[in-house]
Symmetry: C2
Amino acid sequence: MSRFFDQRLAALAPYTPGEQPREARRWIKLNTNESPFPPAPGVAAVLATAADSLRLYPDPTCGALRQAAAARYRLSPQQVFAANGSDEVLAFCFRGLCPQGALFPDLTYGFYPVFCRMFGVRYQEVPLDDAFCVRPADYQGRAGTIFLANPNAPSGLALSLAQIETLLAQDRERLVVVDEAYVDFGAESALGLLARYDNLLVTQTFSKSRALAGGRLGLAFGSEALIADLERLKYSFNPYSVNRLTLLAGEAALQDEAYFRACCDAIMANRALAAEGLRGLGCRLTESLANFLLVAAPGLSGAAYQAALREAGILVRYFDQPRIRDYVRISIGSREEMLALLAATRQILERGNAHAAGKPGTHDE
Amino acid sequence: MSRFFDQRLAALAPYTPGEQPREARRWIKLNTNESPFPPAPGVAAVLATAADSLRLYPDPTCGALRQAAAARYRLSPQQVFAANGSDEVLAFCFRGLCPQGALFPDLTYGFYPVFCRMFGVRYQEVPLDDAFCVRPADYQGRAGTIFLANPNAPSGLALSLAQIETLLAQDRERLVVVDEAYVDFGAESALGLLARYDNLLVTQTFSKSRALAGGRLGLAFGSEALIADLERLKYSFNPYSVNRLTLLAGEAALQDEAYFRACCDAIMANRALAAEGLRGLGCRLTESLANFLLVAAPGLSGAAYQAALREAGILVRYFDQPRIRDYVRISIGSREEMLALLAATRQILERGNAHAAGKPGTHDE
């Protein structure tokens, strides 16, 4: 147990699942109430080769996947935790690793305060500055586990490693969770700081840079004690939360570094194309290092821009929050999708200008 | 919100995921930060046809699956809840539907007390009688949400519908959760009581009779208000907890009734074969209606019988709990596996007898 573990949960007595043997020997396996039959043929047709193995529970330790992730990131498997998306990883952090409450920016991943309410965790929102940046000095002397999405959402703005280290060094008895859902598109990962700071936990997801949002897989990286805490929580909630197919998919994704690199590079190139085009049309943008842009179109509210894009067949996200009402969040898609976005935005803005020129003093609905 | 919902959770403000359109129109979908690229080719090779769609989040409402389950069980989709295995369904019940604590038998699914500790729920264990049966009268006048595995684990013994109705009628302000993980192997489902009792919630799993333990899928059936409560909890924890592949697999499994029936029938036949054979060898068994047997071998502790079967290459489950130390739990496998179990048990018992005959007064280790 790490010193960050919520002592009110010290009595947790995790469920012990039946043994899931991994050695080559063929057991007659009668210990965990699985079916001896493969799933319905319709399932097999959908899932081709992996279908028959679905009759068996997945490996609750996620052993092979953790091994692959550890090799990729040069850590030990005991420093890696796997769960059902980084949402589940984060849920466990809020449930068990916030004995003194939580701290996070006022504009960030909208799930953080939801988790707090789910688990009765007190929290403080620390305002970003006027440019939507985190100021590490604002966290000096404050108690509670810090949650920082880096790059942050929905701004896409990233802290430098030096800034993260400042937060870690401010108080080594305070845990800092760095949520790196979007780190692979140009920001610096904090993984390198794990060797020197045991008050750091890094979370990542396969939903973005590894294109497995539909598979649900998230990881955490930290000290062996912190990872053991997370395992304890997972085993007290849903030990098999990562299914067999997702384990296979995650492993395969980790093993293809060239494809991963090529996808990230293409997204960064498409981001540059979209950002340049939108700026050329007069839009305001943050310097996003994520796979999305936060965009304010000239003369349009965020809601109006979202609605107009929707008319053009393009879905983007609008957040009805005071500080970002002028903005929409636009995911980075393919080059063709970015060109279509730029064309639609140009049309929307021209229509607005024509309208304004033809009927001075009137407003669009 | 149902009257069973924990009022301490009334302030839950669920996260609202970005829209996941289902209509046929092709959107340029830029609203939820998904990758425009398919996953690594290694993933595609593993998962064949469904792989490319994994870049997109799953439908968090599990709409098509709930529709299929509702049709199969003659309920409305609003009476059906889907989550990542029935463990996750149960976790949400313990988190949010136990404002006055929980009640369950002293011998039952071992996860119930784990959930209670995870979420700080007070609980009372109500002893089974000497034949491992639930006595409904023992629950009369007790407050707290009742959790009953039916058939129960590890006994395999089932309550009749009349007994479940007695529990429901004792106090209509008290919720009864009937965990029907093993119901498809000969017991009576309580689903038919939903029309008359809104204090009933039924949970089921795809891990047993539908052979999808590796896919992780569980359902709950109840009033629309109870199902809305569970949705609220799920959306405050992990809205996408059921992945795309599992949604497809679950739907396919529900649509093949003939295969489902044939598998359940074969398991019941194999259970009868195994039970008769074990009784013929002098073993004691409960009258299990589940896909497992609770078995005490003559002259052997449960631990010794487990160890001896393991030597023979057969894994079974032993629970180190006072009332069942003589027993092991044996899952029902194929006919061939059941014959191998009987042969191994016969050898173990003969060896024990030869030993006892040859060296009177001594004991095996």
